[in-house]
Symmetry: D2
Subunit: 345 residues, 4 copies
Amino acid sequence: MIKVGVMGATGYTGVEMVRVLLGHPKIEITFVTSEKNAGASFSAVFPAFQGIFDQTLISSEQASLHSSASVVFLCLPHHSSMKAAAEWRQKAVKVIDLSADFRLKSAQEYEEWYGKHEFPELLSQAVYGLPELYREKIKNADLVANPGCYPTSAALALAPLIQKKLVHLESIIVDSKSGVSGAGRSAEVANLFSEVNEGFKAYKVASHRHTPEIEQTLSDLAGEKVRITFTPHLVPMDRGIFTTVYATPTQKIKTSELTQAFQEFYQGEKFIRIESMGRYPNTREVRATNFCDLACVVDERAGRIIVLSVIDNLTKGAAGQALQNFNLMMGLEETMGLKLLPHVP
Amino acid sequence: MIKVGVMGATGYTGVEMVRVLLGHPKIEITFVTSEKNAGASFSAVFPAFQGIFDQTLISSEQASLHSSASVVFLCLPHHSSMKAAAEWRQKAVKVIDLSADFRLKSAQEYEEWYGKHEFPELLSQAVYGLPELYREKIKNADLVANPGCYPTSAALALAPLIQKKLVHLESIIVDSKSGVSGAGRSAEVANLFSEVNEGFKAYKVASHRHTPEIEQTLSDLAGEKVRITFTPHLVPMDRGIFTTVYATPTQKIKTSELTQAFQEFYQGEKFIRIESMGRYPNTREVRATNFCDLACVVDERAGRIIVLSVIDNLTKGAAGQALQNFNLMMGLEETMGLKLLPHVP
Amino acid sequence: MIKVGVMGATGYTGVEMVRVLLGHPKIEITFVTSEKNAGASFSAVFPAFQGIFDQTLISSEQASLHSSASVVFLCLPHHSSMKAAAEWRQKAVKVIDLSADFRLKSAQEYEEWYGKHEFPELLSQAVYGLPELYREKIKNADLVANPGCYPTSAALALAPLIQKKLVHLESIIVDSKSGVSGAGRSAEVANLFSEVNEGFKAYKVASHRHTPEIEQTLSDLAGEKVRITFTPHLVPMDRGIFTTVYATPTQKIKTSELTQAFQEFYQGEKFIRIESMGRYPNTREVRATNFCDLACVVDERAGRIIVLSVIDNLTKGAAGQALQNFNLMMGLEETMGLKLLPHVP
Amino acid sequence: MIKVGVMGATGYTGVEMVRVLLGHPKIEITFVTSEKNAGASFSAVFPAFQGIFDQTLISSEQASLHSSASVVFLCLPHHSSMKAAAEWRQKAVKVIDLSADFRLKSAQEYEEWYGKHEFPELLSQAVYGLPELYREKIKNADLVANPGCYPTSAALALAPLIQKKLVHLESIIVDSKSGVSGAGRSAEVANLFSEVNEGFKAYKVASHRHTPEIEQTLSDLAGEKVRITFTPHLVPMDRGIFTTVYATPTQKIKTSELTQAFQEFYQGEKFIRIESMGRYPNTREVRATNFCDLACVVDERAGRIIVLSVIDNLTKGAAGQALQNFNLMMGLEETMGLKLLPHVP
C-alpha cells in the first residue's frame, strides 16, 4: 500500500480527494489535515462518512512531523499551498498540488493574478498535470500542479482545434458555467442557498484568474501567445462545469469532420468521451466521475466552430484528475480507482 | 374597463398573462380558453389563484362566439395561433400574438423554420412588438407579434452596439441560458424534475428557431443582412434568461464608454436598467418583473465586447411585454399594471 | 400617507417588509435601517430594487432621531428588538415587532427559551398579532408582537380543532417543514447552497423556541395548559412552510364534516383558504402571498385527524401578517396592499 | 461469475439496479429489458453510462428466451411484475421482485390496494426482503419481495420500538418525505421540473398503498394487528426519504436509553448507523449508498418518542437492498458490492 496524506481535507476539494482515495485499491491514507477541525474526526465534519472513514483530523503542523507518507495531496488555498509544497519537497515527499500555486510557469504572471510567489525556484520543477496533454512529463514528476477546473474543461475542448490548426487563434471565446461547489465551503452570504438558488449570474467577467492558465496551455500548443475571452457563470446546482467554446475556423469544415478530428485526437483516452453527432453533453452525465464529455458543432450559417465540454469540477476538475496524476507518477494503471459508476438521477 | 380574452391560458405563458392582466387597473378578462381543461375553473388548474381568479375555462370554439373582447392575447402553439389570429382580425378584434407565427416578415423564412404559413397576407400587417425599438409602429398596430424570449434578451443587448456601429457584424455570438419554464408545460420525460435538476446542458446548438428572429431585428438595425451564432442552454431553475453576447469592436473602446453608450441609447426607457460598471446582473433580480437588466464589459486584453442581458422569460420575454404592447396600442401609460414588485429571495 | 420606518431592512424579513410596504397605497417609507450597510442604498444590497426603491439605509441611531414615522416595523434579532421597541414606545410611536421579544406573555418563559427579558413591563401591553384569532385586540394595540412563522401555520391549523373541542389536547403533534429563507441571511456554512441543496433534515427536534409560542396560543384557546410535540425540518427551497398536524379525535368525525367545521370557523376570513375534500395544499400556491391554505383529512382506519397547513414564511409568516396588523391598527381595510398576485411557476 | 438479468432497466429503479450490479465483483449482467427502448443501447437512454455499460436493451419477450441468468431482478410496474415472476420461477430462476406484487402476504389485502392478484399461490413462497428483520428466511428464498422505499424507512425506525414493547401500538404516526425520483420516470405534468421545484406538498394522505405493507411488518413484530397513520410528502430533490416517526412511550424513558436500545437492536448491522445523541440525520448523508441512518429523541415535555430515519429511496429503498438480498440468497458476503462511497456535496 502506498501511504498518502491530504492537507486541507475539509473543503469540497478535500472531501472529494478523500472519496476517490478511499476507492483506490493501493492507497492508504495516513493523515488528513484541517486547521479549523483538528482533533475532530473526518466523519464528524462529513457525517456521510460515518463508519467509512473516521480518521482524526490533525493540524498541518502535526502532519509535517509525519514521515510515512510517500505522496501528499494539497487541497489548500493558494499561498498556503506553496509553503506546504516546499516543505514536503524538502523531505523528498512527492506533491500533487490542487491549488493554483504551481500552475503558471512565470512567477511574474503569478504575481499579476495571485500576488507574490515565494518559491519561484520550484516553478520549473512543477509539471502541469493534464494527463491527456502532458502524460509523459507527469510520469517523471515529483511536483504536479493539478489544473484548475475551468482550465481543464477549456483546454480539453480546445486542444484538438489548436494542435490541428483548425481555428484562428485570436477568435477564441470560452463561455463557462459552473456549479456552486466551485465557490468553496467558506461562510459567505453570496453563497447561501437563498442567494444562489433560482438565479443565474456571471462573475469576474474577463478578469478571472483561470484566464492566464487557459492561455498558457493554449499558447504551449500553438507555439505562440494566445489570448482568449473567458466568462465564468454560476449555475444553481452542486457540481459540474459546462464550457461552450467558440472560434472561427481556418477552413471550411463540417460537423462530422470535426467530430472525427476529435475522435482521432483523443483516441485511446480513457476519460474522454466524444459525443456522436447531434448529441450534446450534460453535466449530470459526468457527475462524480472522472470523464470529460465533448461535442463538436460547426455552425455553417455563421461560419463558426462550437465545442461543448463538460466535467465534474471536483472530480476531473480537481480530485479525480489528481488521482489520475498519482497513478501516472507511481507507474500504476491510469484508471485505477477511477472507474467511478455514475448514479441516475 | 377594456375587455380582453386570453387563448391558451393554461400554459406557463398563459398563466403569466393572466397574472399581469389581473394587476392592470383598466382591464377586465372576459374569457380564458383551454382545449384540455375547458369546463374547469382556472383556479382548479392553478390552485394558487383560488379566490383570486376562478373564471371557468372555455374552449376556443366557445371563445370565438364571444363578441365583447376588444383585444385577444394568443398564448397558443405556433400554427394554432395563426388561425386564431386570422379569425379575430376578421372580426376587427385586435390581436397580440405570443407565438412565433407573425414574428418573421418573410413567409419563406417562416416555412424554413416552422413549416408552411397559411396566412402570409397577414404578415405585412403584423408589427414586431419590441417597444424599445418599435414603439411608434406598435401604437398603431392591430396585430402585434410579441417577440420570443431569447430574441428579446439578445436584441436589447445588441441594439446599441449595432445602431452605433460599435461591432463587426459578422462577429456576433449569442450564448443564452434559460430557466426550465421556457420548455413549456407539456408532459415530456426530458423535462421531469429528476431529469433536469442538478444538470446543465445545451440544446438545438446553432439550429434554434429563434435564430432567424434575432437576425431579422439585427439586420433591420444594421441595414444589411446579419448572421449570428446562437446557442441556447438549460438552467435548473424555473424562470429567467441570461444572455451573454460577444462581438469584436470596430474601434478601441473602454467599459465606461460602452456603458455610457448604453445609458444614452436607453435613456428614458422604464424597463431597461443599465448596471453600473463592475456590477453584473442576475436572473433573480428581474424575476416576475418586466425589467431587462444589462451590463457592458470590454475585454481589453482580448479585444472583445461582452454584453450581459437578463430578463424573466415569462414576463419581459412574453406576457409582460405583451401587456406593455397592449398599453401602447390602447394609448395608456406604458408602465400601467407593470410596476411589478420583486420578491427576495 | 402614513409614514413608517423599517428597522433591520436587509435581512429576508426586512426586504419582504419593504416589498409589501411599497405595494400599499397609503404608506410612505421614511427610513430603512441596517447597521452593516448604513450609507449604502437599499437597492445596492438588493439590486432587484434598482429604480424601485433606492432609499439610503441608515443606522438605528440615526433612525431614532427621526420623528416623522407613525409606525415602526422591527425586523431585528430578538434582544435587539426589545430595546428598539421600548425606545419607540417612549416616543409614542406604534410598534410592530417581527422578532420573538413580545410574543410570550410570561417573562419567565421568555427567559427559559431566549434569555433574560429586559422590558417585562411591556409584555402586558403587547398584543399577539394573529388577526384571525385576536382581531379586536389588535385594532387597539400600540405594540403588536407579530407571530413566528411556524406558530402561524400551526395555530391556524389547530384553532378550529381546539375551539370546537374536536381533539384530545395531549395528542397534538406538529410536524413542520420550512424553506431555507427561514434560517436567515447571515453567513453560515450550514446554510450554503452546497450544504442545503439536495438534502432534507430535521433540526432542534422537540426543542425549538417556537414550541412555547404555539402552546401559548393553543392553551389560550383551550382554557388549559396544552403541551405539544413540535419537529421542524428544512426543505431545499427558498420560501414556504408546510405543517402537518396530527391529533386524536374526541368523537367520530368524517373528512367532510371536519372540512365544514373549518369552513365555518374561518367564514369571512380573507386570507384563509380551505381546500375542498381530496385536494391538498402546496407551498408554491401561497408563495409571496398572504394566504394560509388548509386541508382536513380524517384517517378513519387509524382514528386520527390530520390537518395540512401552508403559508409563505416571509409573508403570512412575517411581513405580510405585519402589514395585515398595521391595517387593523390604522383602521384601514384589512386586505389593503395585500392582494398579492401569485406567479406560476 | 453469477449471471443475472434486469427487467425494466430504464426506470429510475432499473438504472440504479444496473449501477449497483456493475459494482459487484461476482456478477455479470446478461440482459437488460425495456419495452419502449428495446433495440437501443442502455447508454443511449442513460448517456452517463457511455463506455461503461453499452449493452443493448431487449424486450421482455426476448429475455424470456434467455436461459443463462441464475437470478432476475424485476424493476417492473406491479401486475406486470407478477407475470414475469411466475414465468421465471417456472424455469427455476431465482427472482428478486422490486415491485409491490409479492410484498403483502394476503391476496385479499393486495386486491384492496392494488387490484386482483393473479398468482396468489406464489405469495406464500415469497420472502419479504428486509434483511435486518428477516435475514435467515431470505437466505433460503427463491422469490424475494423487495420492500418499498417508505416501508423500509418506517420499519427500520419502528422495529426496535415494537420488539422491545416501548410504545403503544395504536399511537404510531409515520410522517415521510420523499425525493422526486420516487414518483418514477414517466411523463406527467405533475412531475415536471417547473411544477415540483420550489414547492412542498403532501399526497395520498392516509391512503397510500405502502400503508398496509408497513402495518404488515409491524403487526408481525408485535404479534397483533397494528394500524398506523401514514402521510407521504414530496421534497424538491432527486433522491432520499426522510421519515419522522411518532409514538407514545409505554414507560418513562430518556433519549440516551432509547438510543442505546437502538444500538443494541442493530448491533452488528452493516447498513444501519445510529446517530449519537443530539445529531440528526440528513438524506444527503446516505445518498447513493445502502445506509439507513437513525436518530432517537424523547420529547419529555410532551411524553412522546420521535425516531428519525433516512435512506436513499433508490438504494436501500430499492436496488441496494435488492443486491443485499441477492448476496444473502447466494451465500456471499452481505456487503459485497455495497460499500458505496458517498460524494459531498
